[in-house]
Every structure is written in C-alpha cells, then in structure tokens.
C-alpha cells in the first residue's frame, strides 16, 4: 500500500513539476494583457519556439498563486501538459444560452485557449464574454469539472451495477470477491455506522441517498488527487448542489417535533423574538457549513501541494527539489486520508441533520429529558 502511494505521489510530484514548468511561461504572459497579445502575435507570425520564451521568462518572478489557482479553478478545455504550441489539451463543448441569440453549441477549440474569438464571443480568464454589451450569457458548457463529473458518474454506475450483478451471479451466501470485498464494507459502514446510528429506525429510506453522496464525494476526491484531473469536490458549485440536496431532504422530512423545536422553542416567550430567528438561521447554516467544509478542505490540500512544488521555482534552485518533493509526498498521502475523511464527514453530518429532523422524541430518551429540563428551568 505504502509502495503504491509512494510511486503514485512521486509520479504526481513529477507531473506537477513538469506542468509547473510549462505553466511558468503562460502565467507570466497572463500577468498583463497587452504584452500577452503581442507575444501571441509574435508566436503566431514568427513561430518562435518556446526555448527562447522560457529563457526570457526565467528571469521574471514566478506567480505561484496564479499557477495554483489555475489548477484549482474550472476550465473550458482539458489541459494535460505543454504550453503554447506544445500544449496537449482536449477541447470541450461550449454550450451557452444567450439572451439575444438563444442556445449556441460549439467546440472550445474555436477559442484557441483564449487567443481567438468565435462569432462575437471570446474567452477572458475562463469566462465567456460577448462583444455585445446588451447580450447576457448563461454558460452551460461541459467544462473540465463537468466532464469529470460525468466521467465519475459513469464509473460509479459501472462499478456498482457490476457489484450488484456479482450478488446475482454468485449468490448471497458466498463471501464477497474482488471489488465487492472492498466496497461492501464501505456500503455496510454507511448503512450501519452513518445511517442507522444517526437516523434510527427510519434510516433505510435514506441509505441510498447517503451512499450516493458518500461515493460521489469519495470518487471525485480520489480523482482530484490524480495530477491532470479536475478539482471537482474543491469547487463550490459542486458542494453547493450537494448541500442544497441535503437541505431539501432534511427539511421536507422534518417532523412536528423538529419544527416545533424551531418555531415553538421551550423557552420563555419573551426571548422568542431572538431565539426563533437564530433557530431559522440554524437551518441554513448547517448545509452552508457542509458546503464550505468540503470545498475548503479539498481546495486547501491542492493549494498546499502546488505551493510546495512551487518552492522550487521561488527559490530557483534544484537543491530545494528533494525537500519540496518530500513534503508534497507527505501532503499527498495526507490528502488520500482527507479524501476518505471528507466523504465520511459530509455523509455523517448529512445523516446527523436528517436524524435530528426525523427523530421521534418518544423513541429518543435524551431529547425528551433535555426538553423537560428546559421546561423545568422556567
């Protein structure tokens, strides 16, 4: 296990290194827009090779923050490696809904990595803008993150339907085999330790949702650790959707006890005006915390790894490389733990919120005694 992680982290370290080298030139170019265009023209007209570019850029300070954010943020093409003319990237479909022109679908290759405009649209800092000031654009493109989202969904479907098939072909009596033996404990863990422990007797209804959330986050956390992949779970839009679904599931299943706790708290009526807004606010802060926690944890991990590799370019010394690689290896292994941990925490808290919403006060002794204490207090 350790051997595998080592190799993987080394590979990821090397890849990051290579990517950072290539990104070096582009970010320096991006620093301000005027020279960028000039440089681009120069590139196109004279086909200057990147050797001279690199030699020229080597003297400029490296904007590690820009490199880091470029790795973390979404993009309209799937960039693998290389820069400028050597860039190896997969163009992705652009789907935009324009207020004046309706739905438009075309390849991101048309933008030539932000250097060209197509019809009257151009790509500025990974945002599609129109030359027409009256036109507003809604971007529904299959971006890098969306592509990984779809990929992970397909992987999940394939893995779990084949696992389900294994039970059908091998029968339920035989011991689990292969991926079944790895995934079954996780499924049972989610069902027993997360769902049943936090929700109680009605947990069966929510187990499919919790399993989907858990494996969706887990697979994308793990995919995010692969160097050329997208940072989906570190994107706030993704965590926003998951926490909104949790918010909806929690509140539509909230029982009388849950709502009475919010709108009819066991407290003197005089402090109700303070208490009720706090309780209502609490409904929103719980999923909000879920959203921020996953997004921040994954993003922070990625920033740390890129920053550690970036040390080499800040110090401009090859001798710092072993230290940087060693640290990023350590953080990479830590990120594997975080990948599982964050999937666990998100699912556990979701189960906890659902549990608090559907808890039957008659079933749960602790709740009633708590309320009684409050009632007795005044």
């Amino acid at each position: 296990m350790t051997g595998k992680s080592n190799t993987r982290s080394k590979i990821s370290g090397i890849c990051l290194l290579i990517m950072s080298i290539f990104l070096l030139s582009s970010t320096s170019l991006n620093a301000n827009n005027q020279p960028q265009d000039e440089a681009h023209h120069e590139e196109v007209s004279t086909a200057t090779l990147s050797v001279t570019e690199d030699a020229h850029n080597a003297d400029k300070p490296v904007d590690i923050a820009a490199i880091a954010f470029e790795h973390i943020l979404d993009a309209h093409s799937w960039h693998f490696w290389g820069e400028g003319h050597d860039a190896v990237a997969m163009p992705l479909p652009i789907i935009i809904y324009s207020s004046t022109n309706g739905l438009k679908v075309f390849s991101s290759a048309k933008f030539e990595h932000g250097h060209a405009s197509y019809e009257n649209y151009s790509l500025v800092d990974e945002k599609i803008v129109s030359s027409d000031p009256n036109e507003s654009i809604y971007d529904f493109s299959i971006t890098k993150n969306v592509a990984q989202l779809l990929l992970s969904a397909i992987v999940l479907l394939l893995v779990f339907t084949s696992m389900a098939k294994a039970y059908k072909t091998q029968g339920v009596i035989s011991a689990p085999k292969g991926k079944q033996s790895f995934l079954e404990p996780l499924v049972v863990f989610v069902r027993d330790d997360l769902a049943k422990n936090n929700i109680g007797s009605t947990s069966d209804k929510y187990v499919p949702y919790l399993l989907t959330v858990f494996f969706m986050i887990l697979i994308n956390n793990v995919f995010g650790l692969i160097p050329i992949s997208a940072n989906l779970t570190g994107n706030i839009a993704f965590t926003l959707v998951l926490s909104v679904v949790t918010f909806i599931v929690t509140n539509i299943n909230g029982n009388k006890h849950y709502w009475s706790h919010i709108f009819l708290p066991h407290a003197p009526k005089a402090i109700w005006p303070i208490l009720i807004p706090i309780e209502v606010f609490g409904i929103l802060t719980k999923p909000f915390a879920l959203m921020i926690r996953l997004f921040a944890n994954i993003t922070a991990g990625h920033i740390i790894i890129i920053s550690l590799v970036g040390l080499i370019f800040i110090f401009k010394s090859i001798y710092i490389a072993p230290v940087a690689v060693a640290f990023s290896l350590f953080i990479d292994i830590l990120e594997v733990l975080v990948a599982f941990l964050q999937a666990y925490i998100f699912t556990m808290l979701t189960a906890l919120f659902i549990g608090s919403a559907v808890a039957d006060p008659n079933e749960d002794g602790a709740h009633t005694s708590d309320d009684d204490k409050v009632t007795a207090g005044h």
């Binding site: 820009a66 479907l157 779990f160 009596i173 989907t212 706030i236």
Partner: protein, 170 residues
C-alpha cells in the same frame, strides 16, 4: 488578478450547478434502482441467513444439551435400576442359599435319622441273630452233651465245666 481569482473561487458557476444537479439526481435514481437496491437486499439477505444459521446452531446446541441431560437422566435411572436388580439378586441368592442350607440340614438330619434307624435295625437284627445262634449253640451243645458219654459223673462234671467255660468266654 488574484482578487478576481479569489472571487471566482467562491462564485458558484451556473453551468456546473446545472450539470451537477442533473447528474447527481440521475445518479441517485439510477444507482438507487440498479445498484443500491440489489446490493442492500443481498447484504440483508446474507445477514439474515447468517443470523438464522447462528440461531439454528444455538437451538441445535440447546437440543444437544437437553439430549445430553436426558441421556444422563436415563443413564442414572438405568444405574439405579441395575442397583436394585443387583440388590434383589443378592437377596434372592441369600434366600436361596439360606433355603438350601436349611434343606441340606434337614436332609442331613433325615439321612442321619434313617442311618441311625438302619443301624438300630441292623443292630436288632444282629442281636436277634445272635440270640438265634446262641439258642442254636445251646441246642447244639445240648445235643452234643446228649450225644456224648454221660456215663460217669466225673465226665459229666468236666463236660459241664468245659461248656460253661466256653459260654462264659462267649
């Protein structure tokens, strides 16, 4: 530029929200139908099977224990029966022995009595025989006397004394 990037970091893009919602809900439905349902059912079936197997093993163990205890009971009963049978046999043996002893004694007594009677009879017969012989002897003597010379006194006397001597000796 950094500020702009930071802002875009916490600015959820509508496209990704849209696609995530669709994909997630679709995944929830598809996985729920084609993966979670069969997997959870299979796991539950297996767990139930294991539970049943365990409980039946427990009940089998209980049955065995019961059987063992009943076996012991039967064994104890059999042992007690054997003891009583042995005791009875011993009693019977003693009874038979005692009876045999009494019988033997009485038989011995009877035999002794018969023997004694026989001896008596034999003795009486011998006595009567002796008496007859004596009588015969006496008659023989008398005959001899009568046949012998009774001429002289002397001779008569000698004869009588001789005879008497013989008789006394007898």
């Amino acid at each position: 530029m950094s500020l702009f990037i930071l802002a875009s970091l916490i600015d959820p893009a509508i496209g990704l929200i849209f696609w995530t919602t669709i994909t997630f809900l679709l995944l929830l439905v598809l996985l729920g139908k084609f993966a979670w349902k069969p997997i959870l059912t299979a796991i539950k079936t297996r767990e139930k099977g294991i539970e049943d197997a365990l409980s039946s093993a427990q009940s089998a163990l209980n049955d065995m224990r019961e059987l063992k205890s009943s076996n012991e009971k039967i064994l104890n009963e059999a042992r007690a029966e054997r003891d009583t049978m042995l005791k009875e046999a011993r009693d019977i043996k003693e009874g038979i022995l005692a009876e045999a002893k009494t019988k033997a004694t009485s038989e011995a007594e009877r035999i002794m009595k018969t023997a004694r009677e026989q001896i008596n009879n034999e003795k009486n017969a011998a006595i009567s025989d002796l008496k007859n012989q004596v009588a015969k002897l006496s008659i023989d003597i008398a005959e001899k006397i009568l046949k012998s010379d009774l001429s002289s006194d002397e001779k008569q006397k000698a004869l009588v004394s001789n005879l008497m001597k013989d008789v006394n000796l007898n």
